[in-house]
């Protein structure tokens, strides 16, 4: 007989491993359930953001249930079936069980994925309404610039050869294009509350990203492309805009603000900027 009786110490090892896994599950559930400040995101300021949160919650319910059941199942099996001199139960598996859990995961995972499609479609499939406020967002190493078309409602042409941050033309607005004369270029993004805004996101050099946590939106600024992104903010306030795409040595300093203001404040902002041009 070559079966060795190696059960000394196995109860302690089994108990410790099971305990660690149980503590892991309890701690994880606790942090998710108790909304500790370092584990939560701020409330969304768009209806789409709320929908994304809803889908996130649904995913958390599914993933959380699977997490708890499989980790506790593992902890249970580790302790219960430790070597204490018993004989292992011989089985090669069960086709019925394989079929059941394959079908169950297909339904669960694909169902979840298809449900999440709605929030995605609202952000990305449908374009902004024609009367949305247009703002161009340009990333370059390591600042954001926001351009408004001014009173004429038209953006001036851009010419990369005329870019010169030192002479006040960081975007290279073509001096020969009359539509560009009244364009407003500012380092922070100001938008009126409850109006749809259509951002036209672009980059001058490398890839950057426009991310506002409260919008629940990230969008790369991809060189060579102008990528539209629309949202309607419903809460007045100031929110941080950050770059989340590694863009070079100053990446972590690339930062700006989104100001969501009342209609009156927005008009005042435009007037003040127009006067300054």
């Amino acid at each position: 007989m070559r079966i060795s009786k190696r059960n000394s110490g196995s109860a302690a090892t089994a108990a410790l491993l099971s305990l660690i896994i149980v503590v892991l599950v309890v701690a994880t559930v606790y942090v998710f359930a108790s909304n500790l400040p370092w584990a939560v995101r701020p409330a969304p300021i768009t209806s789409v953001g709320a929908e994304i949160d809803h889908q996130y919650g649904l995913t958390l319910a599914v993933a959380g249930t699977v997490f708890i059941l499989s980790q506790l199942g593992l902890a249970f099996a580790v302790f219960k079936f430790r070597d204490h001199g018993q004989k292992a139960h011989f089985t090669r598996g069960s086709n019925t069980l394989e079929a059941i859990w394959t079908t169950a995961t297909i339904v669960l995972f694909l169902g979840l994925g298809l449900m999440g499609h709605k929030a995605w479609a609202e952000v990305r499939f449908t374009p902004a309404a024609p009367d949305a406020i247009q703002v161009e967002v340009t990333g370059n190493q390591f600042v954001f610039n926001f351009r408004y078309p001014g009173p004429d409602g038209k953006f001036g042409k851009l010419d990369p050869k005329q870019i010169s941050a030192s002479t006040g033309n960081p975007l290279g607005i073509d001096a020969n294009d009359p539509a560009g004369k009244d364009d407003i270029v500012v380092p922070t993004l100001t938008v009126p509350v409850n109006h749809e805004v259509n951002l036209l996101i672009r980059s001058q050099d490398v890839i950057h990203n426009f991310y506002v946590r409260e919008l629940r939106i990230q969008q790369d600024a991809m060189p060579g492309m102008v990528i539209p992104l629309h949202f309607t903010a419903n809460t007045i306030g100031q929110y941080e805009v950050v770059c989340t795409q590694l863009c070079g040595l100053g990446h972590s300093r690339m930062h700006s603000y989104l100001n969501v203001v009342s209609d009156a404040d927005y008009d005042a902002f435009l007037k003040q900027q127009a006067a300054g041009q």
Partner: protein, 589 residues
């Protein structure tokens, strides 16, 4: 090498002559076992460097203003931090997670587990290793060239990586060396993949049908197929990127870019093209890192639970399904890139479906344990840890696979936590399980059990302490690849969590010394290992520890049954090896 033409039974051959010179035996060896150990030692060197780089990063995140003795200027700069980010990722993904499980253990054990005397192409095998070694020399050289190591991340996104020095420090020589290194690595891995596939198809012992192969062999075999199809694409991408940098082409760079007020002389390229090429390789690469670990986990769980792998066929099919689907999900890395949102939807559905074979594997691992007689040897502890970590790390993928939810989590520490748990730590646990399990066979001595267990406890708890909190700060908006959190208001309150993770990282990193000591001490002083110290069933346990040059000492094994015949009712022993003729199987008294 000798041909493997025999008809069955144990044919006795003259033992293969062993080369006598040191160089032919240990340096330029064509023996797959020596090459396996060379890959393993390369990965061991790389992982030590990779861990040190990660500890430096963790240190900087918490104490950015500390004066460091070996940093020029005393304090680590933003670009030095980003160089660490790039080099840590590159070294770990390529030279550890690809090199150790496949190049190391695959090379050593695939031929033996299928009963072959060597790889199909031993010289090609030697070439693969030495090209990989050259690639490693290139990547390490990037630290010392003018400008230092590149700062564009392990993904090397263009245009940052394509424009040269003007786009940032390290983007000159350092980035060029990075591309050369990755391209060489791709070439070596292509050769290795060919060899693994040919060996598995052609050199199996009589009776070793596909459905009798150990799941480790399934893992290596499917990984090789992934490697064959994926590395070629990155190789092409690497060559094009090199041309963009040095020959004035514009595959990945569009017109009109202005860097530092200078108009760049490029036009007509697309940065998205690089991302597609990179991730067409990059996502299968995740499975290249984890599939061998899945094989090892199944193998070790079955051996130490003294039970057959639950649902063996389902497990083999799941490995194939993961390999197949793994090629159709790369776009989930690009949900926010500006790629068509309809593609985003398609990639999302495909990505959710890859969760299905992953879940099947998890259920079957639990099924293997259920009703078992679990022996908690160190390899078993690491295999159990693998299952726990794979579940934790895999489930966060359900969030990231949905483009809408990914919109808020993309590029945060949530992603870092996800892939570290599932492809980093879980894969490393697979490597540790394999090391503790096969060390006796490879080196003829046992590793120390108490030290192994201490190593496990620290590493298991430590890995969770580092990476579970990381999910939460990601949800709170903590952004990855930031050298400095001070410019962003909402990052300040995450700093105490960073502190906790950094302390956990240093303790976990220090605990790896238990492993290193155990490894090198046992090489010399470990108790001698018998042929089959774990009472295991597959062919590597049918030969001496360590095996002779031709693996089975002049006889070739035949295979009579599946790989996991444990606790078979009516049998005298609780394991029936694959090589035992039916008439020799002991009956229960």
């Amino acid at each position: 090498m000798s041909s493997h033409a025999h008809t069955g039974g144990s044919t006795v051959h003259a033992p293969m002559a062993e080369p006598s010179g040191f160089i032919r035996k240990y340096i330029f060896s064509v023996d797959h076992k020596v090459i396996g150990i060379q890959y393993f030692l390369l990965a061991l060197t790389a992982v030590v460097i990779g861990i040190v780089l990660s500890l430096l990063m963790r240190f900087h995140l918490v104490w950015p203003n500390a004066t460091l003795p070996f940093v020029s200027g005393g304090q680590m700069s933003q670009e030095q931090y980003l160089a660490l980010v790039t080099m840590h990722g590159t070294i770990m993904v390529f030279f550890v997670l690809t090199t150790a499980p496949q190049g190391g253990f695959g090379n050593y054990f695939l031929p033996i587990q299928i009963g072959a005397p060597d790889m199909a192409f031993p010289r090609l095998n030697m070439l693969s290793f030495w090209v990989t070694f050259l690639a490693f020399v290139c990547i390490i050289a990037a630290f010392v060239v003018p400008g230092g190591a590149p700062i564009s991340g392990w993904t090397g996104y263009t245009p940052l990586s394509g424009l040269g020095e003007i786009s940032g420090p390290g983007e000159g020589w350092g980035q060029t060396l990075w591309i050369v290194s990755i391209s060489l690595f791709c070439l070596a891995s292509l050769l290795g993949a060919l060899n693994f596939i040919a060996t598995t198809i052609d050199l199996r012992a009589p009776g070793m049908s596909l459905m009798r192969m150990p799941l480790t062999v399934w893992g290596w075999f499917v990984t090789a197929i992934l490697g064959l199809l994926a590395f070629g694409v990155l190789l092409a991408g690497g060559i094009l990127l090199l041309l963009d940098r040095s020959a004035g082409t514009s595959f990945f760079i569009p017109a009109g870019l202005v860097v530092n007020d200078q108009l760049q002389p490029h036009s007509g390229g697309s940065p998205l093209l690089w991302q597609h090429l990179f991730w067409f390789f990059g996502h299968p690469e995740v499975y290249i890192a984890i599939l061998p670990g899945m094989g090892v986990a199944s193998h070790v769980l079955s051996t130490f639970a003294r039970k057959p792998v639950y649902g063996y066929r389902a497990m083999a099919y799941a490995i194939c399904a993961i390999g197949f689907l793994g090629f159709m999900v790369w776009g989930h890395h690009m949900f926010v890139s500006g790629m068509s949102p309809y593609s985003g939807f398609a990639f999302s559905v495909l990505t959710m479906s890859i969760g299905v074979p992953s879940a099947i594997k998890t259920f079957n691992w639990l099924g293997t344990l259920w009703g078992g007689k679990i022996q908690f040897k160190t390899p078993m502890l690491f295999a159990l840890g693998f299952v726990s970590l794979f579940v934790s790390g895999g489930l966060s993928g359900l969030f990231l696979a949905q483009p809408a939810v990914d919109n808020m989590l993309h590029a945060t520490y949530y992603v870092v936590a996800h892939f570290h748990l599932v492809m980093g730590v879980a894969a490393i646990f697979g490597i540790f399980a394999a090391t503790y399990f096969w060390f006796p066979k490879m080196f003829g001595r046992m590793m120390n059990e108490p030290l192994g267990k201490i190593h496990f406890w620290f590493t298991f708890v430590g890995a969770y302490c580092i990476f579970m909190p990381m999910h939460f700060i990601g949800i709170a908006g903590g952004i990855r690849r930031y050298a400095d959190a001070s410019a962003v208001g909402f990052l300040a309150h995450l700093q105490p969590v960073h502190q906790f993770m950094t302390i956990a990282a240093f303790i976990t990193g220090a605990a790896q010394l238990f492993f290193l000591f155990n490894f090198f001490y046992s090489l010399k002083f470990g108790p001698k290992a018998s042929k089959n110290p774990w009472n295991a069933t597959t062919l590597e346990w049918d030969t001496d520890s360590p095996p002779p040059m031709d693996n089975f000492g002049g006889h070739y094994p035949s295979v009579y049954r599946g790989p996991y015949e444990f606790s078979v009712p009516g049998a005298g022993d609780d394991f029936i090896p694959q090589w035992l003729e039916p008439s020799q199987v002991a009956r229960a008294k």
